[in-house]
């Protein structure tokens, strides 16, 4: 592996932050996916650890409840030998009225290298990244983006379908409130996939066609053409605005049932960012069925987050 043996022509990663997929180039996305592929092996070893981020400190700063994303980041950081600290909004000084940048500056004063943040306000991650020297990874900001989820979804699609270019992907459900949908759309479009969004008109933001996606309000019409069905969670906590008449009606129109699956391609894959509302957006038999890759998404999430933490934390501050 001597350095003198020819320079590989590759994209260099120069960002200390990962704030959105919108800001990434196609090459940067491909670099993360490639690194993640190599990191996947680490989690399969008996000793699940490499010393790449030894001596680095990564803080999880979660202002919204989250178990799986926070845990996934924590496992990823630990597999790279970084030290991790967890802050959550309850029990922290934000509940005493401290501002976001004050909280972050206090964490930074402890010489944390990278902050992983989830926040209910869109744009919170960008704001934070501008105000501190530490790196910032956006783990979901309001209804804006959830870039690592987008990357792990794309990673899983690529693993199963061996390509993204030309792949037909349908995002189903609440597009309006979904940061996962936005990150998926940006990433998939940059890599050349054909993206359709499908859901009730009230949950599809007007003008979304400008991102280069097709819009459908009728799942039964589009399902048969798709290679990937990425089901979004109906965010019951965000449904105060009565965007559809009832949960039961939503399930009947847009829920992925066993019956509806009969119209889909035989080799379609079913994805869901979790947690699943079984029987609402996704029937239990389908979630647990052979086409479901939902648990692969969880496994791949660790590898992708390792890649993101590795690249961003390695950039000089």
């Amino acid at each position: 592996m001597a350095v003198e043996n020819g320079v590989e022509n590759v994209t260099r990663w120069t960002r200390k932050d990962l704030l959105s997929i919108e800001e990434l180039s196609r090459e940067e996305i491909e670099l993360v996916l490639k690194t993640a592929e190599s990191f996947k092996e680490v989690s399969a070893r008996e000793v699940k650890k490499v010393p790449a981020l030894r001596g680095k400190t990564i803080a999880n700063l979660f202002f919204e409840p989250s178990t799986r994303t926070r845990t996934s980041f924590e496992v990823a950081a630990k597999r790279l030998s970084a030290d991790t600290i967890n802050f959550s909004s309850s029990g922290s000084s934000t509940s005493k009225g401290e501002s976001l940048s004050d909280t972050a500056k206090n964490i930074e004063a402890m010489h944390v290298d990278t902050i992983v943040m989830r926040h209910s306000s869109s744009g919170a991650a960008v704001h934070l990244a501008r105000s501190i020297k530490a790196g910032v990874i956006n783990a979901g900001d309001g209804i804006h983006e959830h870039p690592t989820q987008g990357l792990l979804d794309i990673f899983t699609m690529k693993e199963r379908k061996h390509k993204i270019e030309g792949l037909k992907v349908c995002l189903i459900g609440d597009i309006l409130h979904s940061r996962v949908a936005r990150s998926n759309i940006w990433g998939l479009k940059k890599l050349g996939a054909k993206v359709t969004v499908c859901g009730p008109p009230t949950l599809i933001p007007p003008g979304i066609e400008r991102l280069g996606v097709e819009v459908s309000y009728d799942l039964d019409k589009v399902i048969e053409h798709q290679d990937v069905l990425n089901i979004l969670r109906i965010q019951l906590e965000r449904q105060r605005g009565a965007f559809f008449p009832s949960i039961r009606e939503y399930a009947a129109e847009y829920g992925l049932s066993k019956e509806r699956m009969k119209r889909a391609k035989k080799d379609v894959i079913i994805m869901h960012p979790g947690p699943i509302n079984r029987g609402v957006e996704l029937a239990a038999e389908v979630a647990d069925g052979p086409q479901s890759v939902i648990l692969d998404q969880v496994t791949n999430g660790v590898a992708v987050r390792m890649a993101v933490l590795f690249h961003t934390t390695m950039v000089e501050r």
């Binding site: 592996m1 001597a2 003198e4 043996n5 020819g6 490639k34 008996e46 790449a52």
Partner: protein
């Protein structure tokens, strides 16, 4: 000026000789595993494996190691390394591991590889080192057991190992650092 150090036939002969030496030192293929360091060490390991098989008639298992995550200069490397795959299919416990790389220089790559093998992949009985070129200038107390060719170099020179599989032809060339001849 580019200096041709090994052409295709002499590179081939070096590999064959190294394969013989590996077999001689270890009295056969029993317990042997070849582990190539990404990227050209992997090619060399495959060549050695094929050569050993044609001499001894036995297939030696092999693995692939990426040492970038174990580098001591990772935090201040000017550019981020590309992380390649590590794949070591068999258990290394109690095996004789022949670590394979194209060029031995400062020894830091090998230090990383030893870290990875010893800490994360079990406890081999013995680790040996095979390199196609030893160019000197060691910064750590590390030596190779099997060497294709010793080349005295200055630190202002670069050693390029090219293999048919990755570079189109088999050769070893030394060039001055600033003018890359290709």
């Amino acid at each position: 000026m580019d200096k041709l150090i090994l052409d295709a036939p002499s590179l081939e002969r070096s590999v064959t000789r190294m394969a013989h030496e590996i077999l001689e030192k270890n009295k056969g293929t029993e317990g042997l595993v070849l582990v190539g360091i990404q990227t050209r060490g992997v090619t060399l390991a495959a060549r050695l494996g094929a050569s050993i098989e044609s001499i001894a008639g036995a297939r030696v298992p092999s693995g692939v190691l990426d040492i970038n995550l174990y580098r001591d200069d990772l935090t201040h490397a000017a550019e981020q390394p590309v992380i390649h795959k590590t794949e070591i299919a068999c258990d290394l416990e109690n095996r004789i591991v022949v670590l394979v790389d194209d060029v031995l220089y400062t020894g830091r790559t090998i230090r990383c590889a030893l870290d990875a093998l010893l800490v994360d992949f079990g406890r081999p009985r013995r680790i040996e080192l095979a390199v196609l070129v030893d160019r000197g200038h060691r910064e750590l107390p590390i030596r190779a057991d099997f060497v294709g060719k010793n080349i005295p170099t200055s630190e202002d020179e670069l050693v390029h190992v090219h293999f048919k599989e990755t570079d189109g032809k088999d050769e070893v060339v030394v060039t001055p650092k600033h003018s890359r001849g290709r």
